[in-house]
């Protein structure tokens, strides 16, 4: 029972980070209907930026997010203005051009990192990296707790922006119906630029936080991108609660599988990808689709 509680808590802590990481993808997908394949590269770049700030100036990785996140917001807007805005628009879903372009951006970022920092594995060591606190008879890592707290704060912040601000209303309007938003006077291109900035800033926050938990190289981020895909497919791409739920489900399945079965931790990616395939086959609408289906059955009865 005690083991169960600790595993559940660790799943919850992991889910916070997963949600932050996925929400960047979901915001961009919602507004532009493109999958940001460069997401992993941006997380990696943010990890290096965090490491550089820590290495040069001794800045705490969590504090460095105050610089890294806004810088990446601007970087995202710049990427939009120089590359993304020229993509042909497709209403149906991500176009081949967008996938290729963003995959290309990822490769460029990766090689840029190799050129600047080389291929050595880097990690950030803080006074609390190895610390943990006793909790209900088990122990929870301090970095994990901090990551969870910052994740929740960032998600609550984003949710407030989306729900309470004028900008947020425009972002939601474009997400729900781009044509109607434009016919109501919203400049969808401008909103897309801001959304790409927000998505990039969220990739950066996820990257900074990941750098406190894992060692990284310029190849870093791939497996987290896979997890994020799994989560947004599970969560239904656009809904805030859906993404949070998707993150929870994936984190629980991963943690419980490694705690209660003999599946080695190195197979975690296989778990998330298997889950992705199962969801795509069994419930293409993700959790919200499943929910609507059950709802309809109840109503029909």
């Amino acid at each position: 029972m005690q083991k169960f509680v600790i595993v559940a808590l660790n799943s919850l802590l992991a889910a916070g980070l997963y949600a932050t990481m996925s929400y960047g993808l979901a915001v961009i997908y919602g507004v532009m209907r493109i999958i940001n394949l460069a997401h992993a590269g941006l997380m990696m770049l943010a990890a290096y930026a965090t490491w550089a700030l820590n290495d040069r100036f001794g800045l705490d990785p969590f504090l460095s997010m105050i610089i890294v996140a806004p810088a990446f917001f601007v970087l995202g807007m710049a990427l939009y203005a120089t590359l993304i805005r020229w993509l042909p628009r497709s209403a149906a879903g991500p176009s081949m051009q967008s996938l290729l372009l963003l995959f290309g951006v990822w490769l460029v970022l990766q090689n840029l990192a190799y050129a600047i920092w080389g291929g050595d594995t880097q990690s950030i060591l803080t006074p609390y990296t190895m610390e943990s606190v006793p909790f209900l008879g088990g122990r929870l890592g301090v970095p994990q707790i901090l990551v969870f707290v910052v994740s929740i704060l960032s998600l609550v912040g984003l949710n407030l922006v989306l729900r309470r601000t004028y900008l947020g209303k425009a972002i939601r309007a474009v997400t729900q119906n781009r044509d109607a938003a434009m016919l109501s006077g919203v400049n969808a291109g401008q909103i897309a630029a801001v959304a790409f900035g927000i998505g990039t800033a969220f990739a950066a926050m996820a990257g900074s936080m990941l750098s406190t938990l894992y060692a990284f190289t310029p190849d870093f981020g791939r497996s987290f991108l896979l997890k994020a895909f799994c989560i947004i497919v599970l969560g239904g791409m656009e809904s805030f609660t859906g993404v949070a739920l998707g993150a929870l489900v994936l984190a629980f399945i991963e943690n419980f599988a490694s705690a209660y079965t003999s599946i080695p931790v190195s197979y975690q990616d296989a778990i998330s990808f298997t889950l992705l395939v199962v969801v795509l086959v069994a419930a293409p609408g993700g959790l919200p689709g499943l929910w609507r289906m059950l709802d309809r059955r109840v109503v029909a009865r």
Binding site: A170, N177, A181
Partner: protein, 251 residues
Amino acid sequence: MPAENGKILAVSSVSKRFGGLLALDSVSFEVQRGEIFSVIGPNGAGKTTLFSCLVGTYPPTSGSVRFRGEELKGLRNDQVVARGLVRTHQIVKPFRDMTVADNIRVGVLYGRLRLRGAKARERVDEMLSRTQLGHRAQVKAGVLSIGELKRLEIARALATGPDVLCLDEVMGGLNPAEIQQAMVLVRALRDSGLTILMIEHHVHAVAGLSDRLVVLNFGKKIAEGRPGEALRDPAVVAAYLGDETKEEARA
């Protein structure tokens, strides 16, 4: 009739080609300030394409659209809205997961008026009451009935603060009582100073509301004038009822 007259919208030789299909073939007409002007025609005549060319959903292949003397060709949807020309859609396009009030608020915040704070709230309330959606203000747009969605579509367009409101079949799918209600609303909108351009299938509504109209068939203008005259035009009758000689030839 409002005091201020003169043309507000001039459509000249507008054509639109989609690959091999000429959806609009050199259509021209002028709309006077303060009138209710209808665009009618059989299915596939190019009415909705015409609206899309007016508001910048896509540019016309050739021709020009001048609104208050200014060329609109080449402007985006949102830029056209900012100049005071706005359309609704036949297939309603609500923001389904937002409340009715928030749907309207988007138009208030980002349309031509760009109101903020208390003024924005007042205008949202005004639009809600003008379209009789006040009691539905806080429900999600996704749960509205078709009649309510059509009114929301009008409310959101109206909220942007247009001079010309283009209504694309706002009466389609409504029951007779709702059509009556919609006609009252359209007339009230005109009386408040708006110019109305509408696509409509209900001949009764068209005849009862329009000051003037144009009839399109296969992308071409085949008639123009007051409803009484234009609807009796032999070319219009043939377009709607089918050309008997051709039908016989086919049979």
